[in-house]
């Protein structure tokens, strides 16, 4: 804390506000559009309110929560969300690290390879989902079936037999470039002096990677996992386009279930309760993740000072 100038007592209040002013547009906006609606969600979640039942909307305490938490469809969706998010983030991060390491060297065609590898991230997810559902996984016309037909897997209907795996495949394809970009940023920010010092000390390529590069990449990997999780947890379009949560509810995740409950089932109370549970769950996971990140921040800052 460097308090360079102690403000005079009289102007202190106005000074405070003048310095806060640039913050206000963003702040008011975020509060009105994200924080207040969340409070409203809590309010909705405590009422028994179905748009199809006129006159409903009376206070019902925690009934919705009990209903939701004993609802196998909700629990299944929660399980799917965790499964999809964890596997997608993990696999795409591993692939991303591998690809970034391959790309972090000069070779013929590097620019082309990099551009090709980034493009899946730039495709609209709706289009990605359609691309995988139709031209890749379709049992009759799909390329995956065509490529696997020598192994006797030619006419498997991937999307309906393995809905979660199909969704994860499309998501991994879409998210690997993002992880790759982050790790690449980390690799390129690595000081050459550190690399040289390692080489002078006689470290082999594997040792260099494990003891020099990987610790340096740690923050980038953590940031990638955090951001990736935040976005993948909220996946809606891929599920909607590829499987509609089906067959049955086999591949429905939480956003899809909440959407269904609210805008197709019109049960505002229950879907609000689901929303609140999701927020609490996300908060717990994210707090743990953030604490981890902050610890590394603190550790490096202490080292620097």
């Amino acid at each position: 804390m460097s308090t360079t100038a102690v403000p005079r007592e009289g102007t202190r209040r106005t000074g405070d506000w003048a310095r806060r002013a640039p913050l206000l547009p963003a702040l008011i906006f975020t509060i009105v559009v994200t924080q207040l609606p969340f409070l409203v969600t809590i309010w909705y979640s405590l009422r028994s309110w179905n748009l199809l039942r006129p006159g409903s909307g009376q206070f019902s305490g925690l009934d919705n929560y009990v209903a939701v938490l004993t609802d196998t469809q909700f629990l299944g969706a929660a399980g799917n969300t965790i499964l999809i998010t964890a596997s997608c983030v993990l696999v795409s991060m591993l692939l991303g690290i591998g690809l970034a390491l391959l790309l972090d060297r000069k070779f013929f065609g590097r620019g082309l390879a990099r551009t090709l590898l980034i493009t899946p991230f730039l495709i609209v997810p709706v289009a990605t989902a359609l691309l995988w559902k139709t031209t890749m996984f379709d049992p009759v016309f799909g390329l995956v079936g065509f490529a696997l037909s020598p192994f006797g897997l030619g006419d498997v209907d991937w999307v309906s037999s393995y809905p979660v795996a199909s969704v994860v495949t499309a998501l991994v394809w879409q998210w690997t470039p993002f992880m790759m970009l982050l790790v690449l940023a980390g690799l390129q920010s690595q000081g050459r002096d550190v690399v040289e010092a390692g080489q002078v000390d006689g470290a082999g390529p594997r040792q260099m990677f494990l003891f020099v590069t990987l610790p340096h990449l740690r923050r980038y990997i953590e940031l990638g996992v955090l951001l990736g999780s935040i976005y993948v947890v909220g996946t809606f379009d891929t599920i909607y386009m590829m499987t509609q949560g089906g067959p049955g509810t086999a591949s429905a995740n939480l956003p899809f279930t909440i959407y269904q409950r609210a805008f197709l089932g019109f049960d505002i109370g229950q879907s609000a309760a689901m929303g609140v549970i999701v927020v609490i769950g996300t908060m717990i996971v994210a707090t743990l993740a953030l604490r981890l990140i902050f610890r590394t921040f603190m550790a490096t800052e202490e080292k620097l000072s």
Binding site: R20, P22, V33, L99, A127
Partner: protein
């Protein structure tokens, strides 16, 4: 930029190696290392290109399906090329299905969100990092918390909120593009603040003092000096808000219910996707067209993107 030590040719490597090491170790290792490494490096390069091709193959297939004549698509042709490429699918999408209208809608929403949210976030980042006031750290934590609330939990109250706003200002209510702009701004801002904070903090205090000595007001300093200095960060966070807004499906589906003419592209693609007659050529042509603006935007800002991501981590 990324000229690494080990990329210097074999002719130079022994010399530098010998200079850095005591003579005893210099006898065998520097000479042996490049010779042993070469085939592996070559192998890794081929691997990289191969993986790139595999990853990009679905993209190629997308473009190919868009260019294939209808008869070939319906016959389920799996040849990896077409001898008679046609623009029929593109024509059908653009002329018959009014693609242009949706394209303009999507561009309007994404453009407005990028400009407005980046501006708000930049100002907020300046206030949060360069000015000291009470409740500063509380506000910082609030920004992080706002980032964590999943959007699906908020769609229902936002639906009612936008309905009420629409009663007062129709252009910002349901079925209008304004509703999408409002919502996406709110979801882009916290992330953008978070990213820009590191960049603003990285500009040394001495630069500000020098500017003040030269007679610059706070406002001039922020506009003429600070903003250009954090441009890579602005580029990085603008591509994120552009992509999330451009890709959005959930909000567009929920808030634009009955006004077909105000629909954005991801929903428009749904209209090509009819369960009974899948117009794959049309779908893929639409997907290709939908990707082009993102590609253009990406090419414009990509030079800053990698350093931008790096800066966000350093903050």
């Amino acid at each position: 930029m990324s000229v690494r030590h080990d990329e210097s040719g074999p002719a130079v490597a022994p010399a530098t190696g010998a200079a850095a090491r005591p003579p005893a170790g210099a006898s065998d290792r520097p000479a042996a290392a490049p010779r042993r490494r070469r085939p592996r490096r070559w192998l890794a390069d081929v691997c990289a290109l191969l993986v790139a091709v595999v990853v990009a193959f679905p993209l190629y297939w997308m473009v190919l399906s868009a260019l294939r004549p209808r008869a070939e698509l319906e016959a389920g042709d799996a040849t990896p090329f077409t001898l008679s490429p046609s623009l029929d699918s593109f024509e059908r999408v653009v002329l018959v299905d009014g693609f242009g209208r949706y394209l303009v809608n999507s561009l309007l929403v994404a453009g407005a969100v990028v400009v407005l949210s980046t501006l708000c976030a930049f100002l907020a980042a300046v206030a949060l990092t360069r000015y000291r006031f009470r409740t500063r750290s509380t506000l910082l934590v609030m920004v992080l918390v706002a980032q964590m609330v999943p959007i699906e939990a908020l769609t229902i109250p936002l639906f009612f909120l936008l309905r009420n706003i629409g009663g007062a200002v129709p252009a910002l209510g349901l079925n209008h593009l304004g509703s999408l702009i409002i919502v996406h701004m709110a979801f882009s801002i916290p992330f953008a603040i978070w990213m820009l904070r590191g960049f603003v903090a990285a500009v040394p205090q001495s630069v500000e003092e020098a500017a003040k000595l030269d007679g610059a007001s706070s406002f001039t300093f922020v506009r003429r000096i600070l903003f250009p200095l954090v441009a890579p960060g602005v580029a990085a966070c603008s591509i994120f808000s552009f992509i999330t807004t451009w890709n959005d499906f959930l909000f567009a589906k929920t808030f634009i219910i009955s006004a077909q003419e105000n629909q954005t592209l991801p929903i428009a693609i749904l209209t090509f996707f009819k369960p009974d007659e899948n117009d794959w050529g049309g779908i893929m042509a639409g997907s290709v067209l939908m990707t082009i603006p993102v590609l253009i935007f990406f090419v414009i800002v990509q030079r800053h993107l990698i350093s931008g991501l790096g800066g966000a981590v350093k903050g």
